[in-house]
Symmetry: D2
Subunit: 309 residues, 4 copies
């Protein structure tokens, strides 16, 4: 891929005239809100809520298949899973690389799920694009401008997670880099910011859901798993996020959380995820949206879900 040239434009310092820099992402830059559509058919920003679920890291074919089947049966429409894992310590599990990408593609195809996975290195963008339906830019890379430029040139939707202490302004300008590269299909993902309190892993900034609805035409989803760090807190916060207007959720689900190689403490198991999905249906309706249709293969009867009224 060609690397974009350097923009030679007027200086915009932090906090000074930045709103004028939201040229492409600002709400009034488009007549309509952006609806991001994956090849699999899943959409972000429309009437259908996007439910992205799956394990933190792809650990084995078996683990991934169990997770994919579980989340598909419960009504998720996008499979998440890390092939390249950004880890604080170099001695932590780093992911299975391209092998994991192949497993993700295969599991996605089998269960009718779109595939979202993180790309860490601009040199991997082309390869990941061959397997995934959506490229995730992780928290630590929100201002990795080389990577933003590379995914800006890709012809594939991007999930842009908020940086650990990124202001809303910085986050929108990171998205601006991607749109400026020619890629309009960006979804913003709130996943909690760094806090002084260790009670939860991060501090979920739920206010950005309605705030970004005003500021940008791009869809916004919430990742309650990384925000909480504690599985028990994920369901109520997932519910609250949809109620606040989020266009989707990103939820860690593992077939066997106690033995997960990463993020076990914050992962739901498949039964907990099924239970959560039943709770979410009426919340989606309350905000005038709907959950994804369950896959036929799932064999569960959607009508069996108890009405929330």
């Amino acid at each position: 891929m060609k690397r974009p040239g350097f923009v030679e434009a007027a200086e915009v310092e932090r906090g000074v005239n930045v709103p004028q820099s939201y040229r492409l992402v600002r709400r009034d830059a488009r007549a309509e809100r952006t609806v991001v559509r994956l090849r699999s058919g899943a959409t972000f920003g429309g009437d259908e809520i996007a439910i992205c679920a799956g394990p933190c890291g792809v650990e084995s074919r078996e683990q991934l298949e169990q997770a994919a089947r579980g989340v598909a049966e419960s009504g998720a429409n996008v499979l998440r899973g890390g092939a390249y894992k950004p880890r604080t310590s170099p001695y932590s599990f780093q992911g299975l690389g391209e092998e994991a990408l192949k497993m993700l593609r295969s599991a996605g195809d089998q269960y009718g799920l779109g595939v979202v996975t993180e790309v860490l290195d601009p040199r991997d963008v082309e390869k990941v694009t061959q397997y995934a339906d959506m490229l995730q830019i992780g928290t630590r890379n929100m201002q990795n401008f080389a990577l933003l430029r590379e995914v800006g040139e890709a012809r594939m939707p991007v999930l842009l997670k908020r940086g650990l202490s990124a202001t809303v302004q910085e986050w929108l300008l990171a998205a601006e880099y991607i749109l400026l590269g020619g890629n309009d299909n960006v979804v913003l993902c709130e996943r909690g910011v760094r806090s002084f309190d260790v009670a939860t892993r991060n501090l979920l900034d739920i206010a950005v859901v309605p705030l970004l609805e005003e500021m940008t035409h791009l869809p916004v989803i919430v990742d309650p798993s990384h925000a909480m760090g504690i599985a028990r807190l994920v369901p109520p916060i997932a519910i609250a996020s949809l109620a606040a207007g989020a266009h989707g959720l990103l939820i860690e689900v593992h077939p066997d959380p106690p033995n997960a190689l990463s993020d076990g403490a914050q992962s739901l198991d498949c039964a907990q995820f099924e239970q959560l999905m039943r709770r979410l249906a009426p919340v989606a309706e309350f905000v005038g949206r709907r959950l994804p249709k369950r896959q036929a293969t799932a064999g569960t009867n959607r009508n069996a879900r108890p009405s929330m009224q």
Copy 2:
């Protein structure tokens, strides 16, 4: 009032053995969750959601009456309003003092609302108790131990707001001071913590709602007005808070926000509040609770509200 003696007990340093210090507030210290009941009949922690609404500061009899009528007609059951205002600048409006307390009592009685108002000075506790139904400890005073001890001796429910950068641990231990003084009727109020981002006034930590449900038997409510600082964001965050399990809301409502002497930017007007209340009813039902019954004097037909289904 007699001032309590100094507890001479084992040293408990920050972060060390603190959980053992949650003797009275911890969840398992009681068989049942605490339901705090005001003299007016309003409850916090039971099946009925508590809706506290009213102006930031009491500015005049006319302003308060308009606000009280408006919030009562829309279904609030507690009137909030500041008589003593803690203000960053000594040149800001400081509140009308005892005059405001009288107006609050009168408006509360007229519209069948409980009255919650902040007390700033331990010397004022006795006086405020004569007029109010609930004593508010504000954010800046969460660790004002002289004040905590004084309200611990009062025979009146206390609304304890979270400090600006207080950990959940520090907050619970502040409540412990009050319970240790003999006053079990404490309601915790999340109102956002200090953040690096100026996009909203504070950063609402919605996770504390389910977290405190586990940690303590005390009820928890949310103040979306101070958290957001922007009126437009208050309704979606109020909805999200109830959906997450909050036992109540504290909302700033002013009959004429553009001319408010304080917090105008974050105050709803009466029509906006009415609209919000209509949205909240199905959310309360979703979590297995209900909004307060509207007062007969309000003259509005509760059944007129559109179903949320």
Copy 3:
């Protein structure tokens, strides 16, 4: 004491027109910088650095005497020690109250030291004034406006610690409350702010030393003990603070830190304090100031200190 009436003035919201609210504390409100002088002769803001040292809490007559003798011999000119201790947990050591005030007065007189001690409750201001030479407003009470008004009416210097997450603006406006009450003798004390990193107890904001030098005529000192929470880090940070221009230091010194009832981990013992003072002398000279003269009773030979050149 009479309590001041409520100022009825133009509204000044947070972040709006606040600089205009710095009427009395701003640098250009005075021709000269303020020099705060205790009855004992110690000064803050002049050519002589103020060295306030002593235990976190007064635990016994013996402990206090040992600490007072130690710090006096090493060249401190103000004795610190808590009689009323603000503690996160109600089960922690709360201080010895008036008994401790008497011990502080006695030890101060014996060793020629000024006495600074914290006051927590507006009702205690008059009593503490009888024993102390300087009233400390602690971190948790920086915006305890009832207390600020009360010490504003006292005729005694005030040490105003920065709040846990207070902006410089909020801190200066807290000082404005005291000056507006008629008390011009305010010293600001930086003691670290709340941080996301637990590596140190708080995050020392050393930049406020030169920043406040520009913004206000009031003196600024630094408390490295509470900022660090680790005794080993106190000396280098004390040195850096004086080098940055601080007018004084507040340092916790305990004759037997491992057995202290509070803050043992961050307290220097007397020998460590002596060593630190020897290091500080040349730093004071570098910024054109000098350490306090050692008391004759100290019996140590100031000339014995190794030159720093």
Copy 4:
């Protein structure tokens, strides 16, 4: 360059067993402290303080030469300057790229200065290595693991800036990635962390200077320019940093700050830098170190500096 394989090792979660992950960076992993030496002869971590100075971005040959001459004459030994600029907004000046690298090399050679410059993209590491003497990993890339691995394979010293909200633990583990790649020559650079207070651009965490001295054998320097964001505050904080034990400084110097394309507000001009260097000499001596020898070409008489005693 070959890309390193994925380390397959025991899981180390955040906050769990992390100290064991400091295998290579921890203080006791080496008998001696690391002294990092550039090809130009400048050292970090030894008796000589490293003074890195120059403009934020290389804007033109003339601007860079003026800056290089100025800082060399005043006694700096390393030239800093950005060729690839990470900018919050894509519409800000992005740097001159390879053209700037050539200018940096040329100016470095002419004035006997080492050259440190930031690399943003793993694909640029090889190219930057051809021109620079030291590779800077910027704040936004502290956890850009692809980049850390790439510089870990480079045979050139690395300046690793602390992330915007990185804990000390995360920072050391980022360094561990580089050492694990085979590159031992890492210098840590504190540049302030994100804060709730906008009074300064960032909040300098000066405590890390003595803290890291204990925790790691790697040298630590301070960047007061990015921490302060205000040129007037840079000199006192530079002084304080050396007094606290920093092994060097990174200071923005621009020949014409009001017309700088970036960071003008925080840049010293050459005269201000000269003045600062005169103040720093006695501070270096106080901590038992010395400033770099001034270059003969500089034509200034070092002895002309006023003694600080």
